[in-house]
Symmetry: C2
DNA sequence: GAATATATACCGACGGTCGGTATAATATGC
DNA sequence: GCATATTATACCGACCGTCGGTATATATTC
């Protein structure tokens, strides 16, 4: 199956476009990034870009899909974990999302400012919808099992799972709004975390599970988050110059 | 401060721009509506448009603001209603929003398809944020009183009110997604209503109030909605020609 | 294994649209 | 008739997406 290699062809030109697009979108925003910038960064031409994608929006879809894929991979095995209780599964599920965020915090922190701007709702919207779409089956499985066991108080697993994720997204939107509103206030972060606890507590309450099942409530988490947010993580490499010899 | 009146001048050129923009945005979408179309509809020029608005986005803000104003006016007197119980206030509050939707259903129904498209998230986003911003003080007042009375189980009124509205928005997003997904399925509407009840029940549960406090649960509502959605309402006037002597 | 045909990857100029600006022209109040 | 408010027109530059075309690699045929 050895792939024939073309002299001029890239290994994975399409992937390079997606990567470049994400870096640019997250730094400059979607509307503010012309296709020409993506092209320049990759070092290919407009013709190539439109060979792989039918539109600028399509490359955004690919970007979002790649990100959600990562989270999805972390989350999918959880429902069938043999030893976890429903509560542990639920916690792992949200923890996995949280961990992804923390792991990518250096990117998120930098990108947040950009992505949370009104003009870039389209990015968040696509993320949110894809999260619901791709993650709700796994969550539904956990919820269904939880209902059977009596650990969760709900009527219908799929609808409930979808709803939880949408509420989760609503929380993220609140965080977005709060961060943008109080940009340079160092105390803002902690206030946002407190606010987020309100949301998690509400979701717990509505599922009839005890406090702390979804929200970590461990000092560890806040510390990690604190550290990541305050900028101890690696900064992204500075240069935007993508093309070189 | 007497308004200078001029023979050629419009009574309210700015308002006409806003009106025209709303009609076009709701029919064609935001991105797909060029400023030139708004101008043509009003019968003025680009110079005038940019005299009143600094950007295309600003006219969108004005459009959204005008809509939220309408809802806001209906909602603001509710908290101080002398005879309503907390439950009645809560119900009135959401009823007012629902009524606005039903009253404008003929517009919404037509606009929904357009507005719910991905490319038009920006419209919904601005609506959602403005709803939270402008309506949460009134709701917070109700919630605060409810907490005092022991009718509502929550810790903090403002945060809770904001959260409720955000969850409400999340429900609307679910409806958006469902409608778009099952566009021509007549049964879809009823399924969406059932799903919406799941959300309202969840919010009720999380506030510790009994089922039916927020969600109407009256046959009347479903009927009105049914009627409005199935197209018994007035269709919007067909022509796009807005300018007349 | 040379010749031919075809698919894949890529190029870059160009068209047309659109948001926004510059500036001139006109109206109105004083 | 002057300052200010309002409107018109011409124009700019950025941008998305298209299109005709090229080059290389593979498949086919003899």
């Amino acid at each position: 199956m050895a792939r024939p290699r073309r002299s001029q062809a890239r290994e994975d030109a399409k992937g390079e476009f997606v990567e470049a697009a994400w870096e640019l979108f997250s730094r400059r925003g979607y509307d503010a990034t012309p296709v020409s910038a993506i092209i320049e960064k990759v070092g290919l031409s407009k013709g190539s870009f439109y060979y792989y994608f039918t539109s600028k929006e399509e490359v955004l879809d690919a970007v979002v899909s790649r990100i959600v894929d990562e989270i999805s991979r972390a989350v999918e095995p959880i429902p069938s974990h043999p030893e976890f209780t429903t509560q542990e599964k639920m916690r792992s599920f949200f923890r996995a999302i949280g961990d992804w965020k923390v792991a990518n915090m250096d990117i998120i922190r930098e990108a947040a400012e950009v992505i949370y701007r009104d003009e870039n709702v389209i990015i968040r919207h696509k993320m949110n919808n894809m999260v619901v779409e791709r993650l709700s089956p796994a969550l539904a499985e956990i919820v269904a099992r939880g209902i059977e066991e009596g650990a969760i108080d709900a009527e219908e697993a799929e609808g409930t799972a979808e709803m939880i994720l949408r509420f989760f997204n609503a929380m993220a939107e609140m965080q977005a709004a709060s961060f943008v509103a109080a940009k340079d206030d160092p105390a803002a972060l902690m206030r946002v975390i407190r606010k987020a606890e309100l949301y998690m507590a509400a979701i717990e309450k509505m599922l009839g599970v005890s406090r702390g099942v979804l929200s970590p409530l461990d000092a560890d988490f806040e510390e990690r988050l604190q550290g990541a947010v305050s900028g101890e993580g690696m900064p992204r490499e500075p240069g935007l110059s993508g093309e070189r010899g």
